[in-house]
């Protein structure tokens, strides 16, 4: 009985330790990705890059850690079935580019934000949330990263900035679009948005 208790505690201890270190590893991976992308936007070595080059570089850094398709597919939701294979791939690529463009241009021209990751919370069997605070221009913003265990490992499927979920926002827009429009219209709209040099450039609604 004594031996059984000892072994049980040992096993539980090992499980707890491995789970805690796995969680720390996820936090480290996320922090590393955030730092790497901010380096591209703010470091002197990347200052000479054009906006498109910066976006490409940021994409490379992001994709070396996470599969961006997961977040975009989650944002597209059931509308995925309304498109044929070619349209699916094109929309996936265009939305990805748009999100990256908004991210890079949204941060440019400001002081480098400091991002601190807080607690990791387990949400059910295969989901975790990592809270973070971003200090940008003397203002503090709460940003939540939602990750899910996929076949390819832990992947970010949503980012919630100041209570606004990016995936939910795009899902709502795409749902609304498909109530009246087609996949071809969506592709045309996305291409139109990407054709503008600046995200701040006035856009026809």
């Amino acid at each position: 009985m004594e031996s059984f208790s000892y072994k049980t505690f040992l096993v539980l201890g090992l499980l707890f330790w491995s789970s805690a270190s796995a969680q720390d590893a996820e936090k480290d991976k996320l922090q590393g990705m955030i730092d790497a992308t901010l380096d591209v936007i703010y470091s002197e070595t990347h200052a000479s890059l054009s906006a498109n080059e910066k976006q490409a570089e940021v994409r490379e850094k992001l994709e070396s850690s996470y599969d961006l398709d997961v977040m975009i597919r989650y944002a597209i939701g059931k509308n995925w079935r309304r498109m044929n294979t070619i349209e699916q791939l094109e929309v996936l690529e265009l939305v990805k580019k748009l999100v990256l463009k908004a991210y890079v241009i949204g941060l440019e021209g400001k002081d480098r934000p400091s991002v601190t990751l807080a607690e990791l919370t387990k949400i059910g069997k295969a989901r975790i949330e990592i809270e973070s605070t971003m200090v940008l221009d003397d203002k503090t913003y709460c940003i939540l990263y939602r990750l899910r265990q996929m076949e390819s490992g832990w992947q970010i499927y949503d980012i919630v900035a100041e209570n606004v979920s990016v995936s939910s926002n795009y899902r709502g827009q795409i749902d609304d679009h498909f109530r009246k429009g087609s996949a071809a219209d969506l592709i045309a709209r996305l291409k139109g948005l990407l054709a503008k040099d600046e995200i701040n450039e006035d856009t026809k609604i």
Partner: protein
């Protein structure tokens, strides 16, 4: 013996078949799990009751036209001629003036700590911060900035539903609850009617004060609005969703 010989390969084939089917089924199940995840409904906070969508969309386009042709040029001139510290000072000044709204909204939700922090910030910023132009309270322990409260949030905290989504001419996104809250904010604001604390408060002066306050707040708002438009497939839908999520989060906090 002959039968046994025949049976062995059959048994092996069956075993391999079962294993193959099991493996394939497992793979299909895994794939389906990931696929099912992509198709699942997102958080219910995305749902917005919008029975007046056609009218709202029309008002949204109208507001966008007014914004692009009136507010934006004014904001461009304002930001061009005003140094950043002055812009920030003006924004701080008008924020400080809305202290009574924040105080009452905190008290009505029994957020006594929030009321205390707002009061301390108002006292420090109004005196050491030269009528609220500067924000020295940021450096005092326990008086760091907190999220602003308003009457719409009070109604939300009291359990009043948000009602239909509305786009108000000139004012932008709202809902029935926040529209009522907007009038509540005005009633609590000592510089605005109907309960203005200033005697002989002529409408020209009120308009000038409101207009200046609006422009002082606008540079940040215009930038965010343009970014939202530039990165949205459907800007109306995006703003509606962002507004609903933001306000729901503010009420829940």
């Amino acid at each position: 013996m002959k039968t046994q010989k025949f049976k062995r390969p059959l048994a092996w084939a069956s075993l391999i078949g079962v294993l193959t089917v099991t493996t394939l089924t497992a793979q299909v199940r895994n794939l389906t799990e990931d696929e099912a995840f992509f198709y699942e409904e997102v958080d219910e906070s995305a749902d917005v009751y919008d029975p007046f969508e056609s009218v709202n969309r029309f008002t949204f386009v109208f507001n966008d036209f007014v914004f692009s042709n009136t507010v934006q040029p004014l904001v461009d001139v304002y930001t061009a001629i005003t140094p950043d510290p002055v812009e920030e000072g003006a924004s701080n000044f008008f924020h400080n003036l809305r202290y009574p709204v924040r105080l009452a909204s905190n008290l009505l939700q029994c957020r006594f700590k929030g009321a205390w922090v707002e009061t301390g910030r108002f006292a420090i910023n109004s005196t050491f911060g030269i009528v609220g132009i500067l924000t020295p309270a940021d450096d005092y322990e326990g008086f760091a900035p907190i999220k602003s409260e308003d009457v719409g949030q009070v109604f939300g905290a009291w359990g009043i539903g948000e009602g239909p989504y509305l786009v108000l001419p000139f004012l932008g996104p709202s809902n029935l609850r926040d529209l009522a809250g907007f009038f509540g904010d005005r009633a609590l604001n000592p510089l605005k009617e109907p309960f203005s604390a200033v005697d002989d408060w002529k409408w020209e002066r009120q308009l000038a004060l409101s207009g200046t306050g609006y422009i002082a707040r606008s540079p940040q708002i215009t930038k965010r609005y343009k970014q939202l438009k530039g990165s949205s497939i459907d800007p109306y839908s995006s703003l509606r969703n962002s507004y609903a999520q933001y306000r729901r989060g503010a009420v829940a906090e």
